[in-house]
């Protein structure tokens, strides 16, 4: 074994989630012979962790899409955040000022309160957000209509 490059790229949780979910579905769909058990275990556990609330990937339907990452990078460009800060924002999706403060170094010095609110708004717009009361109502409403549809037809 030889390590050619210890770090060729940094992956966000979303990208890892996509890849592992595909591995899992390939296993289930194609009835491919079982992969090595150690791989099956770590993949299952990692997916379980990524889908555990309050991870943003725990939401169904997912609010992350293939173009979320470039869109977010583009929109946060004026704030001049570092790569590490952006990765953390992608993974954690901070929804409050204290949460944002953990991902951005010296936030109070670098940004005014207005700017902090702007960043939070952009994150919520691009990556979505948890909104339990409203969402459950929406979900219920959707369920109601689909029930009504089912009964009507």
């Amino acid at each position: 074994m030889k390590v050619l490059e210890s770090q060729t790229a940094v992956l966000s949780n979303f990208e890892v989630h996509e890849h592992l979910a595909e591995l899992q579905s390939r296993k289930e769909k194609k009835k491919r012979h079982a992969p090595p058990s150690n791989q099956g275990m770590v993949v299952d556990r990692t997916l379980e962790w990524l889908r555990l609330p309050p991870s943003p990937l725990s939401q169904t339907p997912t609010t992350y899409h293939a173009d979320s990452i470039p869109t977010l990078l583009e929109r946060l460009r004026p704030y001049d955040l570092t790569k590490g800060e952006l990765i953390m924002i992608l993974n954690l999706r901070p929804c409050s000022t204290p949460a944002l403060n953990t991902t951005i170094e010296d936030m109070e010095v670098r940004f005014t309160e207005d700017q902090q609110m702007e960043i939070l708004t952009i994150i919520a717009e691009v990556l979505g957000q948890f909104d339990p009361p409203e969402e459950s109502e929406d979900a219920e409403a959707a369920a109601d209509t689909s029930m009504a549809d089912a009964q009507g037809s």
């Binding site: 992956l11 954690l92 929804c95």
Partner: protein
């Protein structure tokens, strides 16, 4: 949290695996060797990401195994220093709090890295953050945000028998995890998620 690492290795496909398509045989071989294993100073390997290059298969002399040189990329769990991530509280001791993330269990927050005013409650076996008259509990299984401050590598390669001592200390050393993360929850916004997100 995750990175890609480029590795070159020799894959030996056993005759029993000849019924598999070559690509699957190579993937399985790599995953069997690396998945869920810690590479020193690299991190915890999760799964194969992609195969970049393979040589022709060469049949070894005497065994009938097919030898293929492969270059590939692995998904590796390796949070960078200063990264903020989520964890769950596994247990609390007077020396600090142990965290886990289902697939990785060796995260430790020493008591010095808890916010000022934290106290250990021996009766509850929990850490409590006291601010004036508010008491906030670090309950077991609670999801917390923490910041990675240090990593601790421990090479488990056997060092060979020692001449002086027998058994005792060696066994203790073997129990040390190969890759440990030390974290902090002292900054504002870190600690139990529920305290900050409402």
């Amino acid at each position: 949290m995750f990175i890609l690492t480029k590795i070159a290795d020799l894959v030996q496909i056993k005759a029993a695996d000849f019924s598999k398509p070559s690509i699957e045989a190579i993937e399985d071989n790599i995953n069997a060797k690396y998945a869920n294993k810690v590479l020193q100073k690299i991190g915890l390997c999760v799964a194969l990401y992609d195969i970049l290059w393979t040589s022709e298969g060469l049949i070894g002399h005497g065994t009938g195994e097919v030898n293929v040189n492969v270059e590939f990329r692995m998904i590796v769990f390796r949070p960078f220093k200063g990264e903020v991530m989520l964890g769950k509280i596994k247990s609390s001791t007077p020396s600090g709090i142990n965290l886990f993330t289902i697939f990785f269990n060796d995260i430790f927050i020493p008591f010095e890295e808890l916010p000022a005013g934290s106290e250990y409650s021996h009766s509850d076996q929990l850490w409590i953050w006291k601010m004036d008259d508010v008491r906030l509990y670090y309950d077991t299984n609670e999801t917390v945000r923490f910041q990675v401050i240090e990593e601790d590598w421990h090479d488990q390669t056997p060092a060979g028998p020692s001449q002086t001592s027998l058994g005792g200390p060696d066994e203790e050393e073997n129990a040390v995890a190969p890759y440990k993360i030390k974290g902090s929850m002292a900054r504002e916004g870190l600690g139990v998620c529920l305290w900050w997100d409402n």
